[in-house]
């Protein structure tokens, strides 16, 4: 999903689940803060009197929706995991984040049906109830999942059901999910994937009740909002605050320590900071970019840099010719030359400088597209196994030491295609490039750095910014040469990043396999070493990359899947069209009076088990 970066207020969500990735931990201990008692704003009197726990936080502005099936934002997901309970849930186990059964009594392995499909059979806990006291049954799950995956609802995340048997994008068939009785739910899938249990903890898979959602506006008003989670919505003052309180009907209510959560709604990082500083809010999920450095010093315990699964990168439009007219190359040769040039230009950037001096949020320099935080079946980091074992992690060396050698290598390569003026040390005939980014100070600063870096070798890079929605449109349409890009994962599996580059993907901003590139037969793949009879020499993007991704999606053997995903990334990176800069982090501030808090690299924040010290 999205990419967002510091400047966008509503983060589109889903980030991948982070599994066992080590992440900085949040709830810090001890320390004093100058802030006032926690009861901010209104209505805290009663709570204080009875000793009830209350916390005020601000994640983002008004969510577009709190319907679990329709939500596609991280902040919305955080509220929804408080309001709803799915078959599974995220838990913190020591320093790890694990998936545990929630409404289901356990998370069983699937049973192979012998026809290529497999079926999961879930048994619901006893006594599950909705917040209005009615019984929750497996039928509710069946209804909710069919609704969320239906073409009629047109939910952003309906595609997460693509591995479920019967799923169709256009609504021609229905997912194979059946409640065989009130407590048993069967889900049949076409492919067994390792991240299935994580998907069940994703809002798109949460239950909703048919009679509740038949009112289209149900999720916009506390009086019609019926949920089944640890909390129930008691107030929604639009654009101001959403209040949730402990749900007495929740099966695990005794374990929930926080009685009331006020989710304040603001899209202004400066305003959030003011409220944090004066003690009204105990957690804010955004900070003003230009304050990061001073906040880190001022609030060493309360300023948190957490892991997040996503990559900030520069994307090239493969259909824009960057060769000089004199090159005289065409077809495959020209494409190979462009790939070499793009890769060389990628070597000119000092990613450590970008991370330390510009982004300043603890980001990690990236040398591969698939993000840090995504793990292999053996638990190791995928990105550490990326590349070609050249003595560094990834596809090029991004250590500070390699700066000069990268530069030399880049110049050497570029000399093959462009005229180099030894006296000035610059190239004289590289066509001027335009770097497109969405309007934001942070992206602009990075763009300026990139322009200055290529400027050193005589390449002119002009900067152009567009407002967010326009930018999305321009980039998707391929009306650009080089553009800022970024991606936050949907789930803990590299395919969530790799499948966006197939020819017909709606996120194929680099235009692989589109336009002129459709006919460029410059790619080769060889999957025979993994036991497939696929070997293509000099194929188009559709013949190669699309084929690997299809193979991955229909493969249930996990080791093979990961081997295939490395091959896919190798091919992708060989084009030079993706120039990774850094892996994202999640910045937020939390008062050190808050105990028991945790967040996961997907960005969800959990207040269930928190307490706020007086």
């Amino acid at each position: 999903m999205t990419n967002l970066s510091a400047s966008l207020t509503r983060r589109n969500f889903l980030r991948a689940f982070g599994a066992s990735t080590a992440m900085v931990t949040l709830a810090s201990c001890g320390g004093n803060s100058s802030s006032e008692p926690a009861d901010g704003g209104e209505g805290t009197g009663d709570a204080a009197a009875t000793g009830a726990q209350e916390i005020s936080v601000c994640l983002a502005t008004e969510p577009d929706t709190l319907d679990p099936a329709l939500n596609s934002a991280v902040d919305g997901a955080t509220m929804i995991v408080h309001l709803f309970a799915g078959l599974s849930k995220w838990e913190k186990d020591g320093e790890k984040y694990v998936i545990a059964p929630d409404c289901a009594t356990e998370l069983p392995e699937p049973v192979d049906n012998g026809d290529g499909t497999s079926t999961y059979t879930y048994t619901l806990r006893d006594g599950l109830k909705w917040s209005d006291g009615k019984d929750l049954t497996a039928k509710d799950f069946e209804f909710a999942m069919k609704r969320a995956s239906s073409a009629d609802l047109a939910a952003d995340y309906a595609y997460l059901y693509e591995i479920v048997n019967g799923y169709s994008e256009d609504g021609s068939s229905e997912v194979n999910i059946q409640a065989t009785d009130d407590k048993t739910l069967q889900i049949t899938v076409d492919t067994v994937v390792p991240y299935w249990n994580e998907l069940l903890a994703f809002p798109t898979f949460f239950p909703v009740r048919e009679d509740v959602v038949s009112n289209e506006g149900w999720a916009t008003d506390p009086s019609t909002y019926v949920s089944n989670g640890a909390y129930t919505m008691t107030g929604w003052d639009h654009n101001s605050v959403i209040t949730v309180e402990k749900n007495a009907n929740f099966y695990d209510a005794d374990e929930i320590t926080m009685d009331k959560i006020n989710f304040y709604l603001s899209d202004d990082a400066n305003n959030m900071l003011s409220n944090f500083q004066n003690g009204d809010w105990q957690l804010i999920d955004d900070v003003p970019t230009n304050e990061i450095a001073s906040l880190k010093e001022q609030y060493p315990d309360e300023f948190v840099v957490a892991g997040q699964i996503g990559t900030y990168y520069v994307g090239w439009n493969v259909n824009v010719d960057i060769l000089p007219a004199s090159a005289g190359l065409s077809g495959v040769e020209a494409e190979n030359a462009r790939a070499e040039i793009r890769n060389a230009i990628g070597l000119l950037f000092d990613r450590n400088y970008i991370v330390e001096q510009i982004a300043q949020g603890g980001q990690v320099p990236a040398s591969s597209f698939v993000s840090m935080g995504l793990t292999e079946p053996d638990g190791s980091e995928f990105y550490k196994n990326a590349g070609h074992n050249d003595g560094y992690v990834g596809y090029y060396d991004v250590s500070a030491d390699a700066l000069q050698s990268n530069y030399d290598k880049a110049v050497e390569t570029l000399k093959k295609y462009y005229t180099f003026d030894e006296a000035s040390g610059t190239f004289t005939d590289v066509p001027a490039l335009t770097y497109l980014y969405n309007t934001s100070e942070g992206h602009k600063a990075i763009g300026e750095y990139l322009a200055s870096a290529v400027g050193q070798v005589g390449i002119t890079m002009n900067l152009e910014n567009q407002e967010w929605n326009t930018f999305l449109n321009t980039r998707k349409a391929g009306d650009y040469t080089v553009a800022r890009n970024g991606w936050l994962c949907d789930y803990n599996d590299p395919i969530s990043m790799l499948d966006m580059w197939v020819t017909n993907s709606g996120n194929n901003d680099c235009q692989f396999g589109k336009g002129d590139h459709a006919d460029v037969a410059a790619y080769s793949i060889d999957l025979t070493d993994l036991g497939y009879d696929t070997k293509v020499d000099g194929g188009t993007w559709a013949d190669t990359y699309d084929v690997i991704i299809d193979t991955i999606k229909s493969e249930s053997d996990n080791d093979k899947r990961f081997a295939l995903m490395h091959k896919a990334e190798d091919l992708l990176m060989s084009t030079g069209a993706i120039c990774p800069l850094y892996f994202y982090t999640d910045l937020y501030m939390i008062s050190n009076k808050v105990k028991g808090f945790f967040s996961i690299p997907l960005g969800y924040k959990f207040f269930h088990y928190t307490t706020v010290e007086a």
């Binding site: 999903m1 999205t2 990419n3 967002l4 589109n12 006032e36 901010g40 704003g41 209104e42 502005t61 008004e62 577009d64 929706t65 319907d67 329709l70 596609s72 073409a151 009629d152 047109a154 939910a155 952003d156 309906a158 595609y159 994008e169 256009d170 609504g171 289209e216 506006g217 149900w218 916009t220 003052d237 639009h238 654009n239 605050v241 304040y264 709604l265 603001s266 899209d267 202004d268 400066n270 305003n271 003011s274 409220n275 500083q277 004066n278 003690g279 009204d280 809010w281 407002e467 929605n469 326009t470 999305l472 449109n473 321009t474 998707k476 991606w487 949907d490 993907s505 709606g506 996120n507």
Partner: protein, 308 residues
């Protein structure tokens, strides 16, 4: 009311309707011409899903038909559903925001007008006194300071440093700073306007006549000077309201006040077409109506004005 005035009012009302129609039409087509759409996000929506959504909201119809449908709805005050906030009607969102914004705007308007007239007339009556000078210095400062700077300063001082009021406009007492921020500029402007107008009036022959006739100082000020010096203040009412409406866009942002200004800004960046149109129509109507009222009041206060 004489027939001339009546004719004038009718004419103005017709003009107001035409103005609104023009605003709706221009906004509608410009909005549609801007690249992007309400269903765009970094994660691409599938073509099938996009088609379903477009059909649901009538965005698959020819542009002109959409325009006619919109006009038809707007005449009946039906602005349709929000395209981004699924399940909410634009009318509800606007009413929600208006309650807050109206409170903010009206209190600011009241404070600005009352305080401005009082300070302005006092300054004029005590011309060249220390009081006059202090008022002039302060109001000059406030008139020249943009509201985003004023708002930020007040926020830092009263909320973060002194902890006197919350920084969040939605919290209890949170409206104080936004109201003050919003009121300072028009208050200062009105002060200066009243002062110069009052000085002008005080120099008029009829004031001297009244004095000669032995009317008390108080009587002169209340019955002669004040009323006549208010004419410019009343004409300023239209621009003042426009300032408050547009100023609230900034102020609501700084203090996170959940008003219509924020809804408006967010609707544009999100391409929430129906909400853009709804808020535009409401804000434009407000300004058109208030300008109309202000022109008519001008006539009431100063019968010498020739409305034609």
């Amino acid at each position: 009311m004489d027939s001339k005035t009546l004719r004038y009012i009718v004419k103005r009302i017709i003009l107001a309707v035409v103005t609104l129609w023009a605003v709706i039409t221009i906004t509608f087509f410009v909005m549609k011409a801007v690249p992007g759409d309400p269903f765009a996000s970094e994660k691409a929506v599938t073509p099938a899903a996009k088609a379903v959504l477009e059909a649901k909201y009538g965005l698959d119809k020819p542009l002109f038909e959409q325009y006619l449908n919109y006009l038809d709805g707007a005449v009946h005050f039906d602005f349709g559903p929000s395209l981004k906030q699924r399940g909410r009607m634009v009318t509800d969102i606007i009413l929600d925001g208006m309650q807050t914004s109206a409170k903010l705007g009206l209190i600011a308007l009241l404070i600005a007008t009352v305080a401005g007239v009082l300070m302005g007339s006092t300054a004029a009556l005590k011309r060249n006194s220390i009081f006059d000078r202090i008022i002039m210095v302060i109001t000059t400062a406030f008139v020249s300071m943009p509201s985003f700077i004023m708002g930020t300063l007040l926020l830092m001082l009263f909320s973060i440093t002194l902890h006197l009021v919350p920084a969040n406009g939605a919290a209890q007492g949170g409206m104080i700073l936004p109201v003050v921020t919003l009121a300072l500029y028009p208050m200062s402007y009105i002060t200066r306007l009243t002062r110069s107008s009052m000085l002008d009036v005080l120099g008029q022959d009829y004031i001297r006549t009244a004095k000669a006739k032995g009317v008390s100082q108080r009587g002169i000020i209340l019955h002669h000077a004040l009323k006549n010096s208010l004419a410019p203040v009343i004409t300023y009412f239209g621009p003042e309201l426009a300032y408050i409406v547009t100023g609230s866009l900034v102020v609501e942002q700084i203090f996170a006040v959940p008003g219509i200004g924020r809804a408006f800004v967010n609707s544009i960046t999100g391409r929430d077409y129906t909400l853009i149109m709804g808020t535009t129509v409401v804000l434009a109507s407000l300004i058109v109506i208030m300008n109309l009222v202000s022109d008519i009041m001008y006539k009431v206060v100063d019968p010498r004005i020739n409305l034609e």
